[in-house]
Amino acid sequence: MRSESMNLNTRNKQITLLFTVIVSLIFLSPFIYLISTALKSVDQLLRQPRALFPLPLHPENFLTVIRQYPIQVYFKNTILVVIGSIIGNVAVSTLSGYALSRLVFKGREFLFTITLATMFMPIFLLVIPRFMIFQKLGVIGTLWPLILPSAFGSPFCIFLIRQYLRSIPMELSEAAKMDGCSELVIYSRIIMPLAKPVIATVVIFTTQWRWNDFIEPLIYLPSQKLYTITMGLYTVLGTSAEEINIHLVMSFLIIAILPILFVFLVAQKQFVEGTTSSGLKG
């Protein structure tokens, strides 16, 4: 009886494992195709379209892409946007996350509610008025339209920080207050050093959002010298005879996603924990 149920159990496990392997292969195969295509020559693409890694490999495709397209410019612009957004977002989101969790005041819950509500406002419905604001400010034609909104805090990051700071005992703040510390000193000297893990999560998510963003660059950036990496990728698709230059498009794509892939490999834990907490009721 017992061994029978154990057999059943092992078989269930094997079936589950088999399914998991199949699903993983489906998810993985486009990436194998991506790398394979990026390493082929035009000749190999035409004659051996189904060969996986025909020799010789052509890693010089990457050099061709770097020489043919202004990738350095795209990278520089993207990095500027990422850094500007991180600096602002960490400052603004920790300040307001601190107030919403550790300062007691009337209307705090209301403020938190209207903050959370913005998580349900898709960027796409905001871009027309934002575009007009940026026009009034005279910053269309610069990278500021991509930096300003994210540098002024993000509802998701404020939510993460608030949840985290709530778990730090209030006694800590009260003791510091007895010693005559102001709230700003408590924030910067006591609470922020303790909040390093959640700040790391905020930095990682900001990097991912800004690096991956496509809609806002598409709308706000008028010229190629301002393009971020996602706009660069879109341009390559639109301007080259993509079917002939498929190996170059794929090389470009690999270069474009490599940094974010690296961030993911280093900080997978933060990605998973941050995403998980967004799905739980606060």
Binding site: T16, T20, P49, S96, F152, F264
Partner: protein, 299 residues
């Protein structure tokens, strides 16, 4: 305290402002202000150059008689109606596989999660080549001796193809469901096993009801994502004809984008945005009202 009834309170307000001012400014300038401004603009004739003036409901009349409005609305609804259940099934199924006792779980989780952290434009560009007439998908079908269709130039297939590519990013949903599945207390399953419920029965009678708040939350997020769908219509059509083939991927948001930033008709584009805000709000409200019947908030 009673000696200085105003003193401490005033310091308080200043402290609160010190901490909250930047975010309050952002709430007004970048979030709530734009929503209100969009509604106002929807009643104006407004061009990017030359400013504007009020014209009442004219934009709404124009919009409702524009065949592209109805075409975009139906494309977006069809996409969303396919995307929500597909992403739910893909996210929950992968989460369920990864919540069982199998070796190398972390590796499998990473593989399924990776596409979700990549830019959507990268997923679509890679996906476009996968679904080319001689791409990976049709090559695979050829192995099975199935003639591959023209995914990107057939008006009936472009939306299902977009859905397939978008659920390649189901990793976000997967991670969230994984968290929800882990939160289901083990003794529920033990009790069910004693009652003689098999695994499918346990899944339907215990797992689904207990994670229903998460399913509900995901449905709303996916609904909003679906209603705003836009980039696949720009990138996927063969020959790079936005909205093609035959307007089958000219989604509502793509129509809005073209109105605003290619024809610079900000008034009518704001009308489109306002209508979309109302539609999103109404559907979300409807789901919330009906959810009380099938979502179980306990624990």
């Amino acid at each position: 305290m009673p000696a200085h009834p105003k003193g401490p309170a005033r310091v308080r307000v200043r402290t609160i402002l010190l901490f909250m001012a930047p975010w309050l400014l952002s709430l007004i300038v970048f979030w709530y202000g734009p929503i209100f401004y969009t509604v106002i603009l929807s009643f104006m004739k407004y061009r990017l150059i030359g400013g504007g003036h009020f014209i009442g409901f004219h934009n709404y009349k124009e919009t409702f008689t524009d065949p592209f409005f109805w075409n975009g609305l139906s494309n977006t609804f069809i996409f969303t109606a396919m995307f929500i259940p597909a992403n739910f099934a893909a996210g929950l199924m992968t989460a369920w596989l990864l919540s069982s006792e199998i070796p190398a779980k972390g590796l499998f989780r990473s593989i399924i999660y990776v596409p979700a952290v990549l830019p959507m434009i990268a997923i679509l560009v890679l996906g476009k080549f996968l679904f080319y007439p001689n791409g990976l998908v049709n090559s695979f079908l050829a192995l099975l001796r199935i003639p591959g269709p023209f995914w990107l130039s057939n008006p009936h297939l472009i939306k299902p193809t977009s859905v397939l590519l978008m659920i390649w990013q189901c990793g976000t949903a997967m991670v969230i469901y994984l968290g929800a599945l882990k939160a289901v207390p083990g003794h529920y399953y033990e009790a069910a096993e004693i009652d003689g419920l098999n695994r499918l029965g346990q899944f339907m009678k215990i797992t689904i009801p207990l994670i229903s708040p998460t399913i509900f939350f995901r449905a709303i997020m996916d609904l909003i994502f679906g209603l705003m769908i836009f980039i696949p219509g720009l990138v996927l059509p063969e020959g790079n004809v936005p909205g093609g083939p035959g307007n089958a991927s000219r989604y509502y948001a793509l129509h809005l984008y073209e109105k605003a930033f290619q024809r610079f008709n900000l008034g009518e584009a704001s009308t489109l945005a306002t209508i979309l805000i109302i539609i999103s709000f109404l559907i979300t409200f409807l789901i919330m009202k009906t959810s009380e019947r099938f979502v179980h908030y306990e624990v």
